[in-house]
């Protein structure tokens, strides 16, 4: 293990081990937001422009370190994803510059998907076009809801109209694909706003939709309010019904349900995110970013200060790693693969076919053509189900 650590941190050995044919997906993390939302415990913070500048410099330096290693081994990025936090805290131009630098240093596969996450509270209309000019061809807009009341409860930094404008701007920017995130399982008082927002998004002709159940992070203001009874979160039953309703509507309207939380019009799957579920290789840069190269998973310093310091010292900010082989790889395969519409092969799960049929009869699994996948109801209990598939 320590030898491995040495390799990752100080030399190009790891990369060389991949031979001349390195193809990765590149993720860049931008850990800043305009303000913190009431339910969020992600690795992000609200910081001054100066701090963000310093981070940007460090991120570019980290890119440089990797680019020089990969450079010797060959160069191709299959997709690029700029996520956060809120990368659109940068202007359209700054974003474009960052994307172009990445593309230059690593080399981008032809037609590669280049996504930027955008918060509706940030960009003006022309920022989108500028980002596209820099190479972005896909936007993922953090809408969460198209109702002012709901957005207020979540303390999002934007209103419904702002979100609509952002979406229109993204759709008109020349990007190939525009996606939006929505939250369901909203607190009492927001009833109906999720499905209604969904309707509005489909009306706009949005290409991609991600729906996530609201689950306030521990110690977040929303979690505290819920604990004090100031906010009522819905029962599991109701949340489950809402999800099933959304699945039903989306599929009826021609959206593919290709992953537990993700839907798209044909041809608009997010290939970058799919790579995570398919255990393809990816390289994550920035504070707290995760990478996978073959059987090796590693991740960067989460602490911004330590991240900056390590880069300043000219070292890679890797803070942890693990080697995934054998049984653990199988577990990952099931855990990740079962999230997608492709499922996993029947052989990979350790079950007697009796149990599989039982789960299928119960409406939780779908078995066909030697593959096992989750039904929408199964997706709702995927944690339990995956544990069952792996270890019962």
């Amino acid at each position: 293990m320590s030898a491995l650590a040495y390799d990752i941190k100080s030399s190009t050995a790891v990369v060389r081990a991949w031979g001349g044919n390195v193809k990765v997906r590149l993720y860049l993390h931008w850990p800043f937001c305009r303000s913190r939302c009431a339910y969020c415990d992600f690795n992000t913070r609200v910081a001054s422009v100066g701090y963000q500048e310093a981070y940007r410099t460090a991120l570019l330096a980290e890119m440089g370190m990797w680019a020089s290693m990969l450079g010797r081994a060959g160069k191709t990025i299959r997709s690029l994803y700029l996520g956060g936090g809120t990368p659109s805290c940068m202007s359209g131009d700054e974003t474009a510059a960052l994307l172009s630098t990445a593309a230059e240093r690593f080399g981008l596969e032809d037609g590669a998907e280049v996504t930027v996450e955008v918060n509706p509270a940030t960009w003006a209309e022309d920022d989108y076009a500028r980002a596209v000019f820099g190479g972005a061809n896909r936007f993922s807009v953090g809408v969460q809801s198209l109702h002012d009341g709901t957005l207020r409860v979540l303390s999002r930094p934007h209103g419904a109209e702002e979100a609509m404008e952002a979406l229109r701007a993204a759709l008109d920017s020349g990007a190939r694909s525009v996606g939006a995130d929505l939250l369901y399982g909203l607190p009492a008082g927001c009833e109906g706003t999720f499905l209604d927002s969904l309707e509005k998004l489909m009306g706009l002709g949005i290409h991609h939709l991600s729906v996530y159940a609201l689950s306030p992070g521990a110690k977040t203001p929303l979690a505290r309010m819920a604990a004090r009874g100031e906010v009522a979160l819905p029962e599991d039953e109701a949340v489950a019904e809402e999800y099933l309703a959304a699945v039903e509507i989306l599929v009826r309207r021609g959206y593919e349900h290709y992953e537990i939380s993700n839907f798209c019009r044909p041809g608009h799957r997010c290939r970058h995110n799919l790579a995570y579920w398919r255990r393809e290789d990816y390289l994550g840069l920035g504070a707290g970013a995760h990478s996978k190269l073959g059987g090796l998973r590693f991740w960067n310093e989460r602490s911004l200060l330590r991240y900056l310091r390590t880069i300043g010292e000219g070292r890679l900010p890797v803070s942890g790693w693990e080697v995934v082989t054998g049984e653990e790889a199988r577990e990952e395969m099931v855990m990740l693969g079962m999230r997608t519409s492709r499922g996993v092969s029947e052989r990979t799960v350790s079950h007697s076919s009796g149990r599989l049929r039982e789960l299928a009869r119960g409406g939780l699994l779908d078995i066909s053509g030697g593959r096992v996948k989750l039904t929408p109801r199964g997706m709702l209990v995927s944690n339990l189900l995956i544990a069952d598939l792996l270890w019962s």
Partner: protein, 604 residues
């Protein structure tokens, strides 16, 4: 030592009335324990005793005391436990003494074990020195308490002394009273040896240590002795007394209390209650012994990890060396695997054994809810004892099921009497009579099924009397009842570890309570799981554990798969701590608390 200068006495009281603290003062006054070594409740030597602040095992100590009459006396003190589970320790100690200090907390007054232990002492013919303790407390009521004691013993209130075991006030006067009132031992040193084994302990190097009270004759190092009941002969390797550590000495004479070590390693060969005599000049008759305490409360004890079965077996064997009242036999549960059905004197005893197994032997255990032993008469008239409800034969072949009853004494202030009588009735008690003790307290006597006490009688007693009622009891034998076996079925499969014996008319009530509790305790699964309670195949209560509807991770950020894996790993570990019954995962917790009623408070 001149026998007239020996006093053997014990301290008896209701739990927590201050026996061990009073013993501390005696140890100080007599300089038995050096000042720098002194600690609170010094005689509570087991780690568990110190932690819980209660006495579990009686402890003897020899002290030299210069009385105010100018003479020096040798005092043998035995500190006894107050909890009813260990009342057999009190009976044994009494047999080694001529007198007893009866201690009563001035802020609590006479309580149930005060009465129980006082009667035991009177029956054993001991001189009783009544004392009111804790007179330093602002809430103390010396006069009232002294009146209660005088009512109880039929003595003049003027004979009752006052002490504060905490400050030491009155402690010297009390020792002088012991010297004056307790008679010296009577046996003669020149008679054939007769010594009563009143307790024992086990030392892994030296074998059994027999605690003895020499009644007649003397025992010396090197002497050949015979244990009259078991017939075992041995030579005495060591004789000594307690200080309270074991201090060896050349011999013990009639009237003295101490120990002998004979090199016998097999605990079953030296029985508490046996009489030691000389092999050369044996006594004709053994001393009256006492009945061995019989375990009445049983519970299944299983290792969480089935690989620990052998370790558990070893640990139980070792514990038994120092705890004759503990019993265990192998059993096999469909739900829990291989384990033991262990017998205990009561709930506190169970709790202590469990804690020792877990702590001293590092075992992870599932202990099922306790039940009592049942006497089952079959159609042919044969009698069997059932220690595990799931062993209860089919009702078809059973003629009668009898359950153990106790003779209970409840002391309660008159204000709460109504509620307590109600409780006794609810719990199938057979009311006998009632006496007023000096207007402050009513003594209720009744018979109760032990099974009720094992459930939550004690908690109810306390909660219906704001903590003022106290309970003492002794076993009185088996009585027939209209009892049935209640089975619990999970997902249609009976789970043996959940079976209990209940009165027929209450099967529904118990059934619905247990099924409700299980619904809370068993996590929701992928499918609905029915939980049923049934008597002889007929369902009397039913609940459904609804299937889990939502258990899905929120967004996964930037390929952070490790967080997901950690969560999954937790699930995997959680699964290990579950017992699979058919397709249903049941947490260990359920086996421990599903059958337990009421709150968590344990009888003390």
């Amino acid at each position: 030592m001149d026998k007239s200068r020996i006093r053997n006495f014990c301290i008896i009281a209701h739990i927590d009335h201050g026996k061990s603290t009073l013993a501390d003062r005696f140890l100080e006054i007599t300089d038995t324990v050096p000042r720098q070594k002194m600690a609170e409740q010094y005689l509570d030597r087991m780690e568990l005793e110190r932690e819980r602040g209660i006495t579990i095992k009686a402890q003897a100590v020899r002290m030299q005391y210069m009385a105010t009459d100018g003479e020096e006396y040798r005092l043998n003190l035995i500190d006894t436990p107050g909890h009813v589970d260990f009342s057999y320790e009190v009976s044994r100690s009494l047999a080694a003494c001529e007198g007893a200090i009866l201690l009563v907390d001035a802020s609590q007054g006479v309580e149930a074990q005060t009465v129980g232990n006082a009667y035991l002492a009177v029956e054993s013919g001991l001189e009783i020195v009544p004392v009111v303790n804790k007179i330093d407390l602002p809430a103390s009521d010396f006069e009232g308490t002294a009146m209660e004691i005088s009512d109880l013993l039929g003595i003049d209130p003027g004979e009752v002394l006052a002490v504060s075991a905490k400050t030491g006030e009155g402690a010297r006067e009390l020792l002088d009273a012991v010297v004056r009132r307790v008679p010296p031992p009577s046996g003669e040193a020149d008679m054939p040896l007769r010594a009563l084994v009143f307790d024992s302990s086990y030392d892994s190097y030296r074998g059994v240590v027999a605690f003895v009270r020499v009644v007649e004759g003397e025992v010396k190092r090197g002497m050949k002795v015979r244990f009259m009941a078991t017939g075992v002969t041995a030579s005495v390797d060591e004789v000594g007394y307690f200080s309270p550590d074991m201090i060896s000495c050349p011999g013990l004479e009639a009237g003295e209390v101490g120990y002998i070590i004979t090199g016998v390693k097999d605990v079953t060969r030296i029985k508490v209650g046996d009489t030691v005599t000389g092999r050369e000049a044996p006594a004709a008759e053994p001393l009256p012994g006492y009945r061995e305490p019989k375990p009445m409360v049983f519970a299944g004890v299983y290792p969480v990890d089935s690989d620990d079965f052998t370790d558990l077996n070893d640990a139980l064997e070792k514990l038994k060396l120092n705890d004759a009242a503990l019993s265990f036999t192998r059993e096999n549960s469909k739900a829990l695997g291989f384990g033991f059905r262990c017998g205990f004197l009561g709930l506190l005893h169970l709790e202590i054994v469990q804690e020792r197994l877990e702590r001293e032997y590092g075992l992870d255990l599932v202990v099922t809810s306790p039940n009592v032993v049942y006497e089952v008469v079959d159609r042919g008239g044969g009698v069997t004892y059932i220690r595990n409800p799931s062993d209860m034969p089919d009702m078809g072949v059973v003629k009668e099921i009898r359950e153990p009853y106790v003779q209970a004494t409840i002391l309660v202030p008159p204000d709460y009497m109504g509620g307590i009588l109600e409780l006794v009735k609810e719990r199938r008690g057979i009311y006998q009579d009632m006496t007023y003790l000096s207007g402050r307290r009513v003594e209720i006597r009744c018979r109760l099924p032990l099974a009720e006490i094992v459930v939550d009688f004690y908690d109810q007693l306390k909660s219906r009397s704001r903590g003022y009622a106290s309970l003492d009891y002794e076993h009185v034998g088996f009585l027939a009842g209209n009892l049935v076996r209640l089975d619990i079925l999970i997902n249609g499969e009976p789970v043996d570890a959940f079976s209990i014996i209940v009165e027929r008319s209450r099967a529904h009530e118990y059934g619905s309570r247990i099924t409700k509790k299980l619904r809370e305790l068993i996590p929701r699964q992928l499918f609905d799981v029915p939980v049923q309670a049934a008597v002889g195949g007929k369902v009397v209560a039913r609940e459904t554990i609804k299937a889990r509807r939502k258990d899905v991770l929120a967004k996964c950020y930037g390929g952070d798969v490790t967080r997901k894996k950690k969560l999954l790993q937790k699930q995997k570990e959680g699964k290990k701590r579950m017992k699979m019954v058919g397709r249903v995962e049941i947490p260990q917790e359920a086996f421990i608390s599903a059958l337990r009623a009421g709150g968590e408070e344990k009888p003390r």
